[in-house]
Amino acid sequence: MILTFLLVVPIIGAISLIFLPRENKQLINWFAFAVTVVNVVISLHLYLLYDVSSEGYQFTLKIAWIPSLNVYYHIGIDGLSVFLILLTTFLSAIAVISSWTAIDEQVKEYMALMLLLETAVIGVFISLDLFLFYLFWEASLIPMALLIGRWGGKDRIYASIKFILYTMSGSALMLVAAIVVYNFGDGVNPTSDLPTLVAHSHLISEDMQKLLFFAFILAFSVKVPLFPLHTWLPAAHVQAPTAGSIILAGVLLKLGTYSMMRFAIPLFPKAVAFWSPLLVTLAVIGILYGALVALVQDDVKKLVAYSSVAHMGFVVLGIFVMDQNGMMSRQAMSAAVLQMVNHGLSTGMLFFLVGVLYERRHTREFSQYGGIWVKVPVFGSFFILAAFSSVGLPGLNGFVGEFLILMGTFSRNPVAALFATFGIVLAAWYILTAVRKILFGPFNPANNNLTDMNPREIGISLAFIIPCFFIGFFPNTLLKIINPSTESIASLVDTAILIVSK
């Protein structure tokens, strides 16, 4: 039930917003924030109740949704999702509070969409039914597209349409594949219950699995986004309002990698070995490509957007790397889950900070800044911390994920690791270039009226950076919860490989 509360609270909040007076923005702001905080509290409660020792799904609830068709409202979480849910509720609260001053028009609609988006995303993370998942997966598009298209920048409509069409085209085939899987069901009856399907995944032939895996992965890769399906991301990020970018980078991209692990791999374990080389190659290309392209952007948000391509490349690399015998790397996989959270925090923070600047100066061009650390020391310090987190500096969260992913990758595929490791050089280069162009150098007088962060913004930044440090110092707190889940996924693949090789 507690999971259902997570889903329902934002919806109720969104509906309640309708009845609040439109003019009283203060009230709407506070109300929306209160709703997100309630969800943060629920998710923390969830985390505290989570039983580290037991394997499998927890807090499950299974109600027949369409009984005649074996479609269920089946929800539950495991180590894969628990931190992503925390991340979602957390970032949603931050997104709402960070919009207080940034959004001035149609605040009511904006906040309602934010809340609906939260529901959709949480829905994806807790669904244990193929079609329930698909419902939330697609439903998450609408609020995001509207947020970008309504409250975004100059080219917001182009970006919004591109976002939705790209994603929809990607997931078009996934629905068909999902229906095919559903139709296989448990071998007798069709069913969309994920655990049942996973238990019967061996019934589907290897060739069929390859095909279906591709259809799923295509949808997920667009979302991640994996090179070369990433070009919607810079457009969407540049145009999106700050909170939109925070959620987009922080959570929405994870839907892709999360779903790879939750659905694509367990449902089609026999296909993983076939597609792994391609995915690993694309991930590595993405790491280098995203970093190189980020290097020459003149818009801060674009730079961060391309950095996301690179960072998410690490995640995909960690998930799919395997050796010639098809052995997956537990280390890389667990670290990939961790890295999802890390990227959400660090990139979310970067976007937030860029938003702080944008709110004051209404520009994101590097050339408009320069030397502002003198003027805004607190902002500068947080920006550098966020940059360090993004660049994978030890002590902060990014390092843990990247290092363990690379180490796991190296043990399976040294060549991929070799190339991917160069990504950290490029990461340093582009992030520090951004720091240098914004904060360092002779002071650009255009920023004379720039004011430093207010207490609310400092509070938000602290809320970002404290978890970053925590993960940097005590990653095992998270890993010990993540490990059993990745272990079970990896062993599914290992078993499948054994069957296939026989």
């Binding site: 005649s68 939705i164 069409l165 068909v176 229906i179």
Partner: protein, 493 residues
């Protein structure tokens, strides 16, 4: 020689009879009363009443009657419900729509009711003669409805186009019936089916094959499948919006009702692969053609016309998934899918047309995309429901349109037609572009509205229509179970 009196089970046909009687009553009242709006309400109430026997019939087993000319099985009854709802909602739209445009006439409601009768006959008929009669009753009423707005030449033009092309297509349909009759010696669809199973050597009889082809063409015309769709955009565009709403869902549903019954019963065991391929190809070009042409539209009404072509394509996917008779379980899937699709499409599409009717300016036809600019600030409720309809038409969950598509594609997957489902989904993605463009106008463009800022009147009946359809779209999108259970009752007797 004793005279055998036919067993006439009037109860089995009670919904049809109610609607016919209703039409006659309205006709009489029309002569006596000056309050034409009241006629509309009367018709609406009567249609609500007609739902009652439908509900009773749902729980009955099949009851063929009138010398096996018609059957009142679950399939027919579910279609009755669809038609009645379509008629009811479109009448609600018409009430003020006609009034405002000075064409409030009793005939309108009579024609709607008669047309509904024709559709119901098509759904119930098990004999090609009745099918033909139903088809013509429906069509002729629709020809007139299309040309109902006598103040606008475009409405008359729509009527003429519909009429001429419709008659042309009818001729082909009839020729097809004649061939089939010639080949099998019967017009009863069960007999035809039996004859083919009994005489396998005739399975490649060219006369029967050409007859089947012409039959399919006749229905393809009615459901607006490419390449027999040419009338559709012009007629939908020119006809009064309330009538467009009705014909877009009613005529389409009726066409599919008859086509599916005939194909699965008469041709369920013969030529299956052949017509499956033909229907699949039709489905592909219909989906694709409709969607792609819709991309270029600047007028939302016309865009919806093209979109209705595309939806005919998705429905054809379901038809292609109809497997041979005997495999009852699988047919249930395809038929349930089609029914679900049509039911949801009825609500969504009428809702969308209701919004068009609200925004349509007097003396003009259709609504330009620019009429929707910033609608979200001018009319948040209308904009919101239109957003629901657009996303639902795209097939994005959690709206009911998704489940229709999902079910139909499941049937296709089960019939080994995954490739068709895949093409369907790709088409869905393409269609998102033009549906989205309405949303973009309403929600994302904020340019000063200019002369569009004319206040939009919100007549109660239309608001009720959009509210009901929107509720349906959303609630059944989230919880489709009751609807799906209802559809599973919609099986052939």
């Amino acid at each position: 020689m004793p005279i055998e009196f036919p067993i006439l089970n009037f109860f089995a046909l009670s919904p049809i009879i109610v609607v016919i009687v209703l039409a006659l009553i309205v006709m009489v009242v029309d002569m006596l009363s000056q309050d034409k709006t009241a006629l509309g309400y009367l018709s609406a109430l009567g249609l609500l009443g007609a739902l009652i026997p439908c509900v009773t019939l749902l729980n009955q087993t099949k009851s063929p009657t009138f010398q096996n000319m018609v059957v009142s099985d679950g399939y027919a009854v579910v279609f009755y419900i669809i038609f009645i709802i379509a008629a009811l909602l479109s009448i609600l739209i018409a009430l003020t729509y006609l009034e405002e445009r000075g064409m409030q006439q009793g005939e309108y409601y009579i024609l709607i009711l008669l047309s509904t009768c024709g559709m119901m006959l098509m759904a119930a008929s098990t004999d090609l003669i009745v099918t033909f009669l139903g088809l013509e009753i429906m069509s002729i009423a629709l020809y007139v409805l299309a040309g109902f707005n006598r103040r606008l030449i475009s409405s008359g033009e729509a009527g003429l186009k519909y009429f001429l092309l419709g008659a042309f297509a009818s001729a082909f349909f009839l020729y097809g019936v004649a061939f089939i009759y010639g080949a099998t010696g019967s017009t009863n669809i069960h007999d035809i089916g039996t004859w083919f199973t009994d005489n396998p050597s005739y399975q490649s009889n060219p006369i029967a094959l050409v007859g089947l082809a012409l039959l399919i063409i006749g229905f393809a015309f009615k459901v607006a499948a490419v390449p027999f769709h040419w009338w559709t955009p012009d007629v939908y565009h020119g006809a009064p919006t309330s009538a467009t709403a009705f014909m877009a869902v009613g005529a389409k549903a009726a066409g599919f009702a008859a086509l599916v019954r005939i194909l699965s019963i008469s041709f369920g065991g013969v030529f299956t692969v052949q017509w499956q391929v033909a229907i699949s190809l039709l489905a592909v070009i219909t989906m694709t053609g409709g969607n792609i042409a819709a991309l270029a539209q600047k007028d939302v009404k016309r865009m919806l016309a093209y979109s209705s072509i595309a939806h005919a394509g998705y429905l054809l996917v379901g038809v292609a998934a109809l497997p041979p008779t005997g495999d009852e379980l699988y047919r249930v899937q395809a038929v349930s899918g089609l029914l679900l699709y049509l039911m949801s499409y009825t609500f969504i599409n009428i809702g969308a047309f209701a919004v068009v009717a609200l925004l349509e300016k007097r003396g003009e036809i259709g609504t330009k995309l620019s009429d929707y600019t910033a609608l979200s600030t001018r009319q948040p409720f209308i904009a919101f429901v239109m957003l629901l309809f657009m996303f639902s038409l795209t097939g994005i969950p959690p709206f009911i349109g998704f489940w229709g598509k999902w079910y139909v594609f499941w049937a296709a997957v089960d019939a080994q037609l995954s490739w068709l489902a895949a093409i369907g989904m790709i088409n869905s993605a393409i269609s998102a572009f033009y549906y989205l463009s309405v949303v973009v106008q309403m929600y994302m463009r904020t340019e000063p509205a200019g002369d569009e800022a004319v206040p939009i009147a919100l007549p109660a009946p239309i608001v009720v229509t959009v509210a009901v359809t929107a509720m349906f779209t959303l609630l059944f999108g989230l919880w489709p179970t009751p609807l799906i259970d209802l559809m599973s009752l919609g099986m052939f007797g």
